[in-house]
Symmetry: C2
Subunit: 159 residues, 2 copies
């Protein structure tokens, strides 16, 4: 099948014009986080998202912000919690978080208050990971099993 | 909502353990290619795929290989054509192609013979683009319209 290029005419080296383009790039990744409580699994899931955006060892704790999220059910709560974190990063103060501490975790009224520790994202200082475009409900799972002491969440994010 | 870290206790700087992982990364991109004939649209689609794997301006024409593809229908032909090209890259001779010239394009018996011009892919010399994992039939479109002189293909590849 193969053959060496020997003393070959110049037309072999002609380069064709470009008549193509790349459309509709889509991608996602599933975050899986766990903890000794559902609250910790949520915190870990948020940190997993930030860990995908950069390498967290380059991030220092210089600043703290408080976010709030509320919803009508537990999945909605996880969604809005992550969405608030994404907003914190995407707009002023452009905070990349190394640590999240949920100070109010209300699974009756579906409300979270969370303290977010980190610093402003600075290109050059912080390696650019993958841009997170959106949180999704797709195949979302929340395991809240006190009997087996199992607390886990699975969330797919668009990247 | 936000607040400066002032003279703050050391526990603020404690870093939580990692209790998360990343699962099931999936991604795809759609190639769209066209030409003055369906044959040229196929050639361009193959070059589009190689253009996604590296930057083709760094690739020289040093070698030529011939591939063959056959199928039961036109979509199958496009699929197997791209799959043969992917094979050419993934295994010996690890050829990255800058130019493709289809020398036999039989849309009755669904057979292609193609000459593939390029060189062995060498990390360091050639920028690493995105790994192409597989060709797919998903949403594949082949426009073969001599009346309007429109020849286009759309192929989604897994990356």
């Amino acid at each position: 099948m193969d053959e060496e290029l020997g003393g070959i005419s110049e037309e072999y080296y002609d380069i064709p014009p470009v008549k193509y383009e790349y459309l509709d790039h889509t991608a996602d990744v599933q975050l899986h986080a766990w903890g000794d409580s559902l609250k910790e699994a949520f915190e870990q899931c948020g940190m997993a998202m930030f860990g995908y955006m950069t390498e967290l060892e380059y991030v220092q704790i210089k600043d703290v912000h408080t976010i709030e999220a509320s919803a009508d059910d537990l999945m909605g709560l996880l969604y809005h919690f992550l969405d608030e974190l994404l907003f914190l990063f995407s707009y002023e103060p452009f905070l990349i978080c190394k640590k999240l501490v949920i100070t109010e975790f209300n699974t009756q009224e579906f409300k979270i208050v969370c303290r977010c520790y980190g610093e402003e994202f600075v290109i050059g200082k912080h390696p650019q990971g993958t841009e997170v475009k959106a949180i999704t409900y797709s195949a979302m799972q929340i395991i809240d099993d006190p009997k087996d002491n199992k607390y886990e969440v699975f969330v797919i994010i668009d990247i």
